[in-house]
């Protein structure tokens, strides 16, 4: 099926694509047919810089289980480093 499920959000940071590093402006998260992954559907994330053109793109196509694990891991890491002083790990400098 074509799920058409797409979410867009503004992001800041940097990514490395085919043309080297570039500043990130936007992320697009969608569940649909992958281009390369060997699955009928995948959780896809494109990190984009529209002002630099369509080739300024860092793309991943994840198995849904892996995508959930990645999301949990990202949140867990952020929770640790952003925890109030004395509540656990110190923020990373």
């Amino acid at each position: 099926m074509c799920t058409y499920q797409t979410e867009l959000l503004e992001v800041s940071g940097s990514g490395k694509g085919a043309g080297g590093w570039f500043p990130l402006e936007r992320a697009m998260v969608y569940f649909d047919h992958p281009v390369h992954a060997a699955a009928e559907h995948s959780l896809n994330v494109d990190f984009l810089s529209p002002t630099r053109g369509p080739a300024a793109r860092l793309a991943v196509e994840l198995d849904p289980v892996a995508a959930r694990e990645l999301a949990r891991t990202i949140l867990a890491v952020l929770d640790r480093v952003e925890a109030p002083a004395g509540a656990g790990h110190a923020p990373v400098q």
Partner: protein, 252 residues
């Protein structure tokens, strides 16, 4: 397909056509070299884009004696970009608007009809999102035949809150201008077997000429040879039905 069928020598190349509102867009054109009079087919690519697999499908029609053209529906968002980058850019921009799709297909049809040797008969075929768009074109333009390969949301509305503007086309069924061939997988959920059944009921009620086939053991994208969804039995029978259908409606 007639038993006398033989592979045609072809020429295939990238070209430029005038699409919606006269915009110049890229297209991939394949045509038979040794067929004096031939029909034409507009190939509408799937959502992942104007890619190698779709161009291979386009060449296949030329090998079978039809001129075929695949307009790059994502050209405006990303001229010259790789198909996957262009598809991402199109998705980020909200997808291909229905009105623009119709204009681009109209331009592709005009390009086919203008080819030397064209018999004036034309059809559309589309896969996945292109299946819905093939149906949309057939309800919006004068065609001789149309094929919908597992197009979602011809019947049924997608969940709210999507970033893309995609709605059902049931209100257009009465405007269908040509015979319709629909090819679906019974294990697909978009379109579901119930939605395919509803489409058949609507076409029947509108007095349209159509044949819908749903294959056992196949889900979505069973024609896609480069994906795990490929189902050889459904794809082989599907191709046979397509060429039989085009032989009936695009011949002469």
């Amino acid at each position: 397909m007639a038993s006398a069928w033989r592979e045609c020598a072809i020429r295939a190349e990238t070209t430029t056509i005038r699409g919606h509102q006269g915009d110049e867009i890229e297209a991939y054109l394949a045509r038979p070299l040794d067929v004096p009079r031939h029909g034409g087919v507009v190939v509408i690519h799937h959502m992942p884009g104007y890619d190698e697999a779709t161009k291979e499908i386009t060449r296949r029609f030329a090998v079978h004696g039809y001129s075929a053209i695949c307009p790059n529906l994502h050209h405006r968002e990303a001229p010259g970009a790789s198909p996957d980058d262009a598809a991402a850019a199109s998705r980020a921009a909200g997808g291909v608007p229905d009105e623009r799709l119709v204009g681009d297909v109209a331009g592709a049809l005009a390009a086919l009809r203008a080819l030397p040797g064209s018999n004036g008969k034309v059809a559309t075929i589309g896969y996945c999102s292109g299946g819905r768009q093939s149906f949309l074109a057939a309800c919006s333009l004068r065609l001789d035949a149309a094929v919908d390969c597992y197009g979602a949301f011809v019947v049924g509305r997608p969940p709210e809150g999507l970033g893309l503007e995609v709605g059902p086309l049931t209100h257009l069924v009465g405007q269908l201008s040509c015979p319709l061939l629909g090819l679906f997988g019974k294990e697909d959920s978009h379109p579901s077997p119930e939605e395919v059944g509803e489409l058949a009921r609507l076409l029947e009620a509108a007095g349209k000429t159509f044949e819908l086939h749903s294959f056992d053991g196949a889900g979505h994208a069973f024609f896609a040879v480069d994906r795990p969804s490929y189902r050889v039995d459904a794809a082989k029978e599907g191709w046979r039905l397509i060429f039989e259908f085009f032989g009936e409606h695009l011949g002469g």
